[in-house]
């Protein structure tokens, strides 16, 4: 799976462009919706920090700092990355703005295959979760990781998941994860 993503990464720049779409036209890819349907990362955000009025004037900046990735099918756009950016943008906009204002997004020329799509999405989420640390409670980190990287085998945990191993090949034990997050591994 690692070479798959490496190959995709190489050709990525030829297959993307910056474009402008209405937020109302974007919805999440149905396959990716399954990942977050039981573990919506929006729920873990601190409620006070969402929808602050100051960011209303910085929509374009927010959209470019962590861009949304979409692909187009018929007249609709489907999101594969940048879920939290999408959320921040939407919560700062009025209802009328949603279908009136254009937002910069990265458009993929081709719909990525199932596996690639998942990897793009998961690596985006884990980056937010583990590297940018939008939540700090170990229990919540564990909850999301378990939901996003499910395993058929009950005994093994999310660390054994193939997609996890592709995104974080260096983290094989909870201890390593804990040391990266700089916490104890008790609740992970």
């Amino acid at each position: 799976m690692a070479d798959l993503i490496a190959k995709y990464d190489k050709t990525l720049l030829c297959n993307t462009e910056l474009t402008y779409v209405h937020l109302a036209d974007i919805s999440i890819d149905p396959d990716l919706a399954e990942i977050i349907i039981d573990s919506n990362p929006v729920s873990a955000l601190k409620s006070k920090s969402t929808g602050s009025k100051s960011s209303r004037f910085m929509t374009n900046m927010t959209a470019l700092q962590a861009p949304i990735w979409v692909y187009k099918k018929r007249n609709k756009y489907y999101l594969v990355s940048g879920l939290l950016t999408h959320f921040f943008l939407i919560s700062t906009m009025n209802y009328d703005d949603l279908s009136a204002r254009n937002v910069p997004v990265i458009l993929l020329n081709k719909k990525p295959t199932y596996n690639i799509k998942r990897l793009i999405f998961l690596s985006d989420l884990t980056t937010q979760l583990l590297k940018k640390l939008f939540i700090t409670k170990e229990k919540n980190v564990k909850f999301f990781l378990e939901n996003w990287f499910p395993n058929d085998d009950i005994k093994s945990n999310y660390l054994q998941n193939k997609e996890w191993q592709t995104i974080f090949p260096e983290i094989k034990t909870k201890k390593e994860l804990a040391s990266m997050l700089n916490t104890s591994n008790r609740d992970l």
């Binding site: 109302a24 974007i26 919805s27 999440i28 919706a33 977050i36 349907i37 039981d38 573990s39 919506n40 929006v42 729920s43 873990a44 409620s47 969402t50 929808g51 099918k73 018929r74 007249n75 999101l79 879920l83 999408h86 959320f87 939407i90 919560s91 009025n94 209802y95 009328d96 949603l98 719909k111 295959t113 199932y114 596996n115 919540n140 909850f143 999301f144 939901n147």
Partner: protein, 821 residues
């Protein structure tokens, strides 16, 4: 439920694809709704090949794969195990696929389409439009209807499909629009054409009633031969009696609520009647302005009548009453004969007419009953107190009876106590069972009574007539608003047009009615003596009698009133259901979230219904801006029509105020959580919470349009909505009565809370005007929002709100914060 091919199913077939092709074909098979068994796929693929060969480019835009891809797919499948399956070659598809696999069914039947030359283009145009608007179509569940129309129209030999290759969608719409109006076509074809027109136009009109009913329709509902007098009005104004109730179930109102507007009739006055030899001028008959003036005159006189004051000439004044009562008690005159009747009997007639609001004819058949359980109406001697028993008949049809065990039982008759001053004049004797008066012609009794009254009027210079005596209770109460007029209905079986709606909602116990009527008379007597007239009459307080143990059941009135305990239990169970949810689970899991939202909405809706007395309608709270928190008022709209006659402002209890505020923050959070997973719902919620800002910037005409669109709407989503799952996914639907009673699992009528509210307010001795204001019961001239009205809303709300608040506390309706906050 639609059973679809899954990625794993296709993977298991081990087809010779690379990853990219696999994705492409999987998407394609999902698009054409290929079933798991691959049944009839052979047929479908060969039809698609035919189409793609004719129009390769068009095919690509519709199905998003090239002709080459399709050939590639077909050849791969024919090499694989799939082609060896029996199901694959089977031409017939399974039962029910026309409902569950609509696209697949269209493609499988393609060979049967009659016009071989243009069927490919028409199919492609149809599917192109279908796929582009797939969300809309599935959301309103029209997919089966449009595909059925499409299939049947194409299979019809008499219909020739034109070539739509160069036509835009608008032109196709126009084409179907002109065809569907063609009278020469068969009905079934025209029906299909209409459905296709709606499909290409993407507009399905909801059948909403927009017009108020015409005069003729209105008149049909009334029996114009049976007239009833208008309370407090002149002699020549009447209202006609209702023949049948209107069928208004379409606009979301239950049958027991659906009364048509009262019609008023003015008969020609006897005095003003022109002599026969005088021919009316043509100009006068046809003059529009004079006709208008006549109608306005009727309305004016009704308005005046319904706003009568205590000095109205129709009401017996203190001095009239004082002389009348004095004469009635003058025992030394009793032996005198007036006509063939003794004065004693005349006095009995008149006091009965005054107290029981009955006509002389009715009184002549009064009797004394042995026990209260005996059949018929009359006087009963219970516990050394005289009672009047009346049999109260409600005109419910059999279907309207509810068998629910939660409803309180009611009695078929009512018993009310008679004060001593009445029973002594009536000279009731418990030993004389049977008719009270001798059987002589009723007109003789009437003549004697009239003579007695005219003698009285002559000697004392007062104006007393039989009519003013009979209608005294209603007229006086109308002017002074002393007690709930419904009590007179129940107590004396005296049904008036004015209480037709409020009567339906109220329940009274025997002792409550007795004490209210005693209070009514005490006030009158006090009034007389305060003006310096004689009063040797003393209305004592009622005697405490345990009717419950004596007659099994001591309540009369509404059949649809559950006990307070029932509501308490129900609310407790709803609250405990809500408190069982886990906060993290609710916020992070989509399924839990919609489940929680549904439960939360039930609680909010039931609270709204209970504390506002909403009728059972669709979309009860059309907008969050209906709550006027600062004034403690809420605007509601039930049983409404195009003129907004029942859009009204009513008092808002504190608990409901807080609950709606909580719900508003719940919606805020909900829209955040839903944005990616259910954009449709999220946008809708966002719009709702921003509506107030929005509504300030629209024109009045637009807002009228907006409001008539959303109120009681079935399809236009409102503030209170729930998630329902259908074949295609999760959709939002407005809260409506049948859903509420389904999820609440109850068999009592949903507007039972309205019955409870009316009864609760009446028990708290609220003035009848305030009760009517809260319930929205009014007739001409009484509407608090009328142009002539001097009704003080703030004052009224500050009186009523605490009582409703007390009720909601009694019923355990405490506001609950959402777990999402």
């Amino acid at each position: 439920m639609r059973e679809r091919i899954s990625r794993q199913d296709l993977f298991d077939e081990k087809l010779n694809f690379n990853d990219e092709d696999f994705e492409k074909f999987y998407d394609f098979l999902v698009l054409i709704e290929c079933p798991k068994s691959f049944r009839a796929l052979n047929e479908v693929l060969s039809n698609l090949l035919e189409i793609s060969q004719q129009y390769p480019h068009f095919f690509e835009t519709v199905f998003l794969i090239t002709k080459k891809d399709l050939v590639n797919l077909v050849s791969t499948i024919s090499d694989s195990n799939i082609s060896k399956k029996d199901d694959f070659l089977n031409h017939h598809f399974e039962r029910g696929w026309c409902q569950t696999h609509v696209i697949y069914a269209v493609l499988a039947q393609y060979k049967m389409f009659t016009s071989t030359s243009s069927r490919a283009v028409f199919t492609l145009r149809f599917l192109e439009h279908f796929f582009c608007n797939i969300d809309t179509i599935f959301n309103i569940e029209r997919e089966e209807e449009v595909t059925r129309a499409f299939r049947n129209l194409n299979r019809n030999k008499t219909f020739i499909v034109p070539d739509f290759f160069d036509n835009s969608i608008d032109e196709i719409v126009d084409y179907f629009d002109s065809l569907r109006k063609d009278d020469q076509l068969e009905g079934s074809i025209r029906n299909q054409l209409r459905q296709l027109y709606n499909f290409f136009n993407l507009s399905w009109k909801n059948r909403t009633k927009k017009k108020s009913s015409s005069r003729t329709v209105l008149r049909q509902r009334f029996n114009n031969k049976q007239l009833e007098r208008v309370i407090g009005a002149d002699d020549n104004v009447f209202t006609s009696i209702l023949k049948k109730s209107i069928d208004n179930t379409q606009s979301g109102i239950e049958k027991t609520e659906a009364f048509p507007v009262i019609s008023f009739i003015k008969t020609e006055s006897k005095i003003d009647k022109k002599p026969k030899h005088e021919i009316a001028a043509v100009k006068q008959i046809k003059d529009k302005s004079s006709q208008k003036k006549q109608i306005a005159n009727v309305s004016n006189s009704i308005q005046r009548a319904h706003n009568s004051t205590s000095l109205n000439k129709n009401i017996l004044q203190a001095h009239d009453l004082s002389f009348l009562l004095f004469q009635l008690q003058k025992k030394k005159n009793y032996q005198k004969q007036i006509g063939v009747v003794e004065t004693r009997v005349v006095c009995q007639f008149i006091i009965a007419s005054l107290y029981f609001s009955k006509s002389i004819e009715d009184i002549s058949s009064f009797k004394i009953l042995k026990t209260h359980s005996e059949d018929g109406e009359g006087f009963v001697f219970i516990d050394s107190t005289w009672h009047f028993k009346s049999v109260f008949v409600d005109n419910l049809t059999v279907a309207e009876y509810s068998s629910s065990s939660e409803l309180l039982e009611i009695s078929d008759y009512s018993l009310i106590q008679i004060p001593e001053f009445v029973s002594s004049i009536m000279a009731l004797d418990p030993t004389k069972i049977g008719l009270l008066f001798k059987k002589i012609s009723k007109s003789r009794y009437r003549d004697s009574c009239t003579t007695f009254l005219s003698n009285l009027s002559d000697t004392h210079g007062v104006r007393v007539s039989l009519k003013s005596i009979q209608y005294f209770n209603n007229n006086f109460n109308e002017a002074n608003q002393l007690i709930d007029p419904v009590i007179f209905d129940f107590a004396f079986n005296h049904i008036t047009y004015k209480t037709r709606a409020s009567r339906h909602y109220t329940q009274y116990s025997f002792s409550e009615m007795s004490s209210s009527i005693f209070y009514f008379w005490q006030t009158i007597i006090e009034n007389i003596s305060s003006l310096g007239f004689m009063s040797n009459i003393d209305v004592k307080s009622i005697k405490e009698i345990d009717y419950q143990s004596m007659c099994d059941c001591d309540h009369v009135g509404s059949r649809f009133l559950p006990s307070a305990g029932f509501f308490q239990k129900r609310n407790m169970s709803l609250q405990s259901k809500l408190s069982e949810y886990n906060k993290l689970e609710v916020q992070s899991s989509f399924d839990m979230l919609i489940q929680y939202h549904n439960d939360y909405v039930i609680y909010v809706s039931l609270m709204l219904l209970a504390t506002t007395g909403y009728r059972a309608v669709y979309n009860p709270l059309p907008s969050l801006s209906m709550r006027l928190s600062r004034y403690k008022m809420i605007m509601i709209s039930d049983k409404d029509d195009i003129d907004f006659t029942h859009a009204r402002i009513i008092p808002l209890a504190d608990s409901l105020n807080i609950q709606i505020k909580n719900y508003q923050s719940h919606l805020d959070k909900l829209s955040n959580l839903l944005h990616l997973l259910h954009p449709e719902a999220a946008f809708h919620v966002k719009k709702q919470t921003e509506e107030l800002n929005h509504s300030l910037s629209v024109k009045p005409s637009d807002s009228v349009h907006w409001f008539s669109e959303i109120k009681n709407s079935k399809n236009h989503p409102g503030v209170l909505f729930y998630f329902s799952k259908n074949n295609y996914g999760t959709h939002i639907r407005n809260v409506h009565p049948s859903w509420l009673s389904e999820v609440d699992n109850t068999d009592y009528p949903l507007n039972a809370t309205r019955h409870y509210l009316r009864t609760f307010l009446a028990k708290h001795k609220l003035s009848p005007e305030l009760i009517a204001f809260t319930m929205g019961h009014w007739s001409t001239g009484e509407a608090p929002l009328g142009r002539y009205s001097t009704f003080e809303f703030q004052e009224a709300c500050s009186i009523v709100s605490p009582i409703i608040q007390k009720m909601s506390e009694d019923l355990n309706l405490t506001p609950i914060r959402s777990l999402l906050i």
